[in-house]
């Protein structure tokens, strides 16, 4: 039956060689042939190659992802569905996930980032939830790399262009620069939606005879996987028109799709199952829905709305055209479903049916062009335990003789260098291009440790943060991942929230290299440990491998996005000092380490040493303490003390407020090297400010939690001064510092 149907004459014969060009190994190909009992058709080969690709099958990571904690009191739906679901009590559930769109964004930054946003939005509303907030986590090469500015401008504009237009606020994120991303940037986008508990939908196809509807944009040759480029070289005739084209996002259609889908899912009984057409479009959605529902499915390609002439079954099945969904209705609901989509000027076509059995059968021009067991493509996809080995360079990297680093006599200059640096300068110029207020839920706007969004109709609020220090992860993948989880949770705690769930985006190099696999395994171990200790189970996520150019991998970047809950939105806290005269305290141990620090990297060009280890019990205690202090109204600000160390965190408290800057007078006890004291980094440290009269109660909260609390000084005046022992080691004008800090990124990215 190979290559029948539309364009059969042009479809090449399937050989082991062609299979290899499609990225299937000999073993994988033979396995498929055995299971099918015959050679696959050309269309089937295309389907196999995408479903068994790393991206869809997680063949290198599945075995390790099993180690992540995915259970918790709030968790309704864990990994496996389009997004995770967390119960917030009050009848409302939060649905969230993070996705990467790294490679497309490197090829075409604007469209790559835009379609990345579109994809994650669909993952959320396909569950029946209305998206209400997004975060973006970005990594670029060094600011002076010729391509960096172009990439930053394009990616940021793409996220803004799509997210703003659809009306989902981007309320936070992170962006960092490092040469390891020169040839491979990272664009990770997180979206959170909410729904009433009973309105949650699944991506399962059930009910024999139920109609399968295709809704949304027409299908073009967008983003058909590289393999088809190889294959298409055989049709020289139209090879030009057959070349896979870059996906262009259509946020307007996405918005219509969003509203129409939520409307049909609101009416009980209309929708049996629904799933977006993301990677591997029609293929992935049909196969996964059939597999999840334990049913068979028949698809009629002649019914698929096409945008271009003469598309082959292969192309139709593999197209990654955006803004499309697959939906299973019932014979009774079909008409009503169509009606709703018409209301929103969208096309809804019945393209198939749910059938008995377990096979996905694809027809075109009256002929069967693909007929395979869904299980073969999903559950029976290859799984690998790839060899892993600690890289040689690790030893080297971990060695750091601090003695060899000159100790500064004064911290002011260093602090000024840090505040104007690419990684520590203000991100305002970026998040101001994102609509972070639409939907009027944003209680704490971007610019603080975590964004806080209220849940209308309740007294609750959600807190969102995304974190990953890739330098830490490079120098010590397990510790680095643990630290990323700890920081995300700490960011939430500083807003007054307790974690309810976590999603991750694991960006790594080529998993076929043992060193990369080692980094991956260690990172998973770190995430697993920290997420269980901090009771922030993983509800879903994404793995992005092969982030390499010319065999040089990016820093391992396991991005962690965490969602926290505040039961009283009134208690939401921000990071900046509020009132002159407030006392400043440090919760936690002041000691920081220069190893792996931003200070060392920026001012001494050294990325070395092991990042300070996180004691998860201490971390928990510190977070509990700050939550309790916030909950009982004792503090006016709380800020996580991370990149740049104690001195930089204090500066942020002074200059990051929306209303301008305020100074502070800080006294520290001498302890070892000055730069370590000021700029050394360590987890489990939080700076709070409180009215003098709360001091005793605050100290009591700390000691009750078994957390050291250290008076640092007082808010007030125009300058930030830090005195160690008898000598002033930092003295700068807060307003000037704020200006320089705000101008840092725009200046660095000026062409």
């Amino acid at each position: 039956m190979s290559g029948e149907g539309r364009g059969e004459d042009r479809e090449p014969e399937v050989t082991p060689e062609l299979a290899q060009q499609h990225g299937l190994t000999r073993e994988e190909y033979e396995r498929a042939v055995d299971r099918l009992g015959r050679a696959p058709s050309y269309t089937e080969l295309g389907i196999l190659s995408v479903m068994w690709s790393e991206h869809c099958s997680y063949k290198s990571s599945r075995a390790h992802l099993k180690n992540l904690p995915t259970e918790g009191p709030h968790i309704l739906v864990g990994p496996g569905e389009n997004a995770g679901v967390v119960d917030l009590g009050s009848g409302v559930v939060a649905v969230f996930k993070m996705e990467s769109h790294n490679h497309p964004s490197f090829v075409e930054p604007y469209q790559g980032a835009a379609t990345g946003v579109g994809g994650i939005l669909r993952d959320i509303f396909t569950m029946g939830a209305r998206p209400i907030a997004s975060l973006d986590s970005l990594r670029f090469g060094s600011p002076d790399h010729p391509r960096t500015r172009f990439l930053v401008d394009g990616v940021v504009a793409g996220i803004a262009g799509y997210g703003n237009s659809v009306g989902v606020p981007t309320v936070g994120g992170e962006i960092a620069f490092h040469p390891s991303y020169n040839g491979n940037i990272l664009v990770n986008v997180f979206t959170l939606g909410i729904a009433r508990r009973e309105k949650i939908h699944r991506g399962a196809a059930t009910g024999e005879g139920n109609p399968v509807l295709y809704v949304g944009s027409h299908t073009g040759r967008d983003g058909i996987h590289g393999a088809s480029l190889l294959a298409s070289s055989e049709f020289d005739a139209e090879s030009e028109s057959k070349r896979p084209t870059v996906q262009v996002g259509d946020p307007f259609t996405e918005k219509l799709l969003l509203e129409a889908c939520l409307e049909v899912m609101k009416e009980p009984g209309l929708v049996v199952g629904i799933q977006d057409m993301g990677a591997a479009g029609l293929t992935c959605s049909t196969v996964e829905m059939a597999a999840r529902g334990g049913s068979g499915m028949e698809i009629e390609l002649d019914r698929v709305p096409l945008r271009e002439e003469g598309m082959t079954p292969y192309e139709i099945m593999l197209s990654e055209s955006q803004e499309r969904m697959l939906l299973v209705a019932t014979p009774q609901s079909e008409a009503r479903v169509r009606q709703v989509f018409e209301k929103w000027d969208l096309q809804a076509e019945v393209v198939g049916r749910v059938v008995p059995g377990d096979r996905v059968r694809v027809r075109s021009g009256g002929r069967v062009v693909a007929d395979m067991p869904a299980a073969l493509l999903v559950d029976e996809a290859p799984r690998y335990r790839r060899p892993s080995e600690r890289p040689k360079w690790q030893e080297e990297m971990e060695r750091l003789q601090i003695e060899s680093i000159p100790e500064p006599s004064d911290g002011t200059e260093a602090l000024q260098a840090l505040l104007a640096s690419p990684n520590l300068g203000s991100r305002e110029s970026i998040y101001q291009t994102y609509d972070h207020m639409v939907r009027t839920n944003t209680v704490v706007r971007p610019g603080s440790d975590a964004a806080v969004i209220r849940l209308k109709g309740t007294n609750q609020a959600l807190s969102l943060a995304v974190d990953c220090n890739a330098r830490y992860c490079f120098l010590d993948p397990e510790q680095g991942a643990r630290l990323a989880v700890a920081e995300a949770a700490r960011n939430l705690a500083c807003s007054g929230a307790a974690p309810v769930g976590t999603t991750d985006c694991l960006n790594f190099g080529n998993p076929e290299r043992p060193e990369i696999m080692w980094q991956f395994e260690r990172a998973i171990a770190g995430i697993a440990g920290a997420c269980s200790a901090l009771e922030a189970p993983i509800v879903g996520g994404n793995v992005s491998f092969y982030n390499e150019t010319e065999g040089r991998a990016i820093h391992p970047t396991p991005t962690i996005a965490m969602v926290g809950l505040l039961d009283d939105v009134g208690g939401a806290m921000a990071q900046w000092f509020q009132s002159e005269g407030d006392l400043i305290f440090l919760l936690g141990d002041p000691a920081g380490s220069l190893a792996a620090s931003e200070y060392m990297a920026l001012l001494h060009g050294r990325e070395a040493g092991r990042p300070a280890a996180v004691d998860l019990d201490r971390e928990r205690a510190v977070q509990d303490a700050v939550r309790r202090a916030i909950g009982s109204g004792l503090v006016e600000s709380a800020h996580d003390c991370s990149d740049g160390g104690l001195a930089f965190a204090l500066l942020e408290c002074c200059i990051s407020g929306p209303l301008g800057s305020v100074g502070a007078e800080i006294r520290l006890e001498p302890a070892g090297r000055l730069d370590a004291l000021l700029f050394g980094e360590a987890p489990s440290r939080i700076i709070v400010s409180a009215p003098a009269e709360n001091r005793a109660r605050l100290e009591h909260v700390a000691s009750a939690a078994g957390v050291p609390i250290l008076p640092l000084g007082k808010v007030g005046g125009p300058r930030l001064t830090i005195t160690v022992g008898s000598g002033a080691v930092v003295d700068l004008d807060a307003a000037e510092a704020r200006d320089a800090w705000l101008r840092a990124l725009p200046r660095l990215l000026k062409g």
Binding site: A157, A160, G161, N164, S165, V166, G167, D250, P251, F252, T253, K255, L256, W344, D345, Y431, Q432, T433, Y434, D435, H436, M437, V438, R439, T440, T442, V443, R454, K456, V569, G570, P658
Partner: protein, 236 residues
């Protein structure tokens, strides 16, 4: 008072306005689908913010042809309150219900942040509770909010006092730095001659609750309610 909030395909702030009208102000509110050719029992029409029809071609260019726009024109003719916020302002300008046009921000980027506007007159239904010269802090969120009109039109606007809000600094001074998008004469909001149709780029609907850190936008809605009550009293 009963607010009618128009939903165009691509409207994003329809629910935000609804929330303010219903849950913050305790008034009645109803959504009006853009395909409706008529509506009734509405005291004030609000065209909300968003990206109607994706803002493809030009902001508001396609939305102005929605079936409901004829009814809205007639409603305005009869003196009904028609309030366009952000994208809604663009629609009203494209529809010719308000003078001028809104073009790409001078800085070329979309900007989302708080700005200050100065209220230029109190004798409109939208500012009846706001003394002339009052400075309000209100957020903007737009990429095409630069107000443009030919010089002659601008003169007329000033003569007829149709400029209702101007971008200014916290102290009420109109300066170039305080103008977020390059709008001519720092125009943030204009009304028609009669004063019953207002369009403004800043979002009062985003700052009508202290929970969001700012409730100054509420004063505009309060003014509308107050004026409407006046009118009704006079009728009786």
């Amino acid at each position: 008072m009963r607010f009618g909030i128009v939903i165009f395909p691509g409207s994003n702030c329809d629910h935000d306005v609804y929330h303010v009208a219903k849950h913050v102000l305790g008034q009645e509110a109803a959504f009006l689908w853009h395909k409706n050719v008529s509506f009734s029992g509405i005291d004030c029409i609000v065209l909300p913010g968003g990206f109607a029809h994706g803002d493809y071609l030009r902001g508001g260019a396609i939305a102005r042809f929605s079936p409901i726009m004829k009814a809205i024109e007639a409603f305005a003719e009869r003196g009904g309150l028609v309030f366009g916020i952000c994208n809604g302002f663009q629609v009203l300008a494209e529809a010719g219900l308000l003078p001028g046009a809104l073009v790409r921000n001078a800085g070329l980027r979309y900007v989302c942040r708080d700005v200050y506007v100065r209220s230029e007159r109190q004798d409109t239904p939208y500012t009846s509770r706001i003394k002339q010269g009052t400075v309000l802090k209100i957020p903007i969120g737009h990429g095409e909010g630069c107000y443009f009109a030919p010089e002659a039109v601008l003169k007329q606007l000033e003569e007829k006092r149709q400029v209702v809000f101007r971008y200014c600094d916290a102290g009420g001074q109109v300066t170039t730095e305080a103008n977020p998008n390059g709008s001519l004469r720092a125009i943030a909001g204009v009304c028609n001659e009669r004063g019953n149709v207002l369009g403004m780029m800043p979002h009062p609907d985003r700052c009508a609750e202290s929970l969001l850190g700012n409730d100054q936008g509420r004063r505009i809605f309060d003014s509308m309610i107050h004026s409407w009550q006046q009118i009704r009293r006079n009728r009786i």
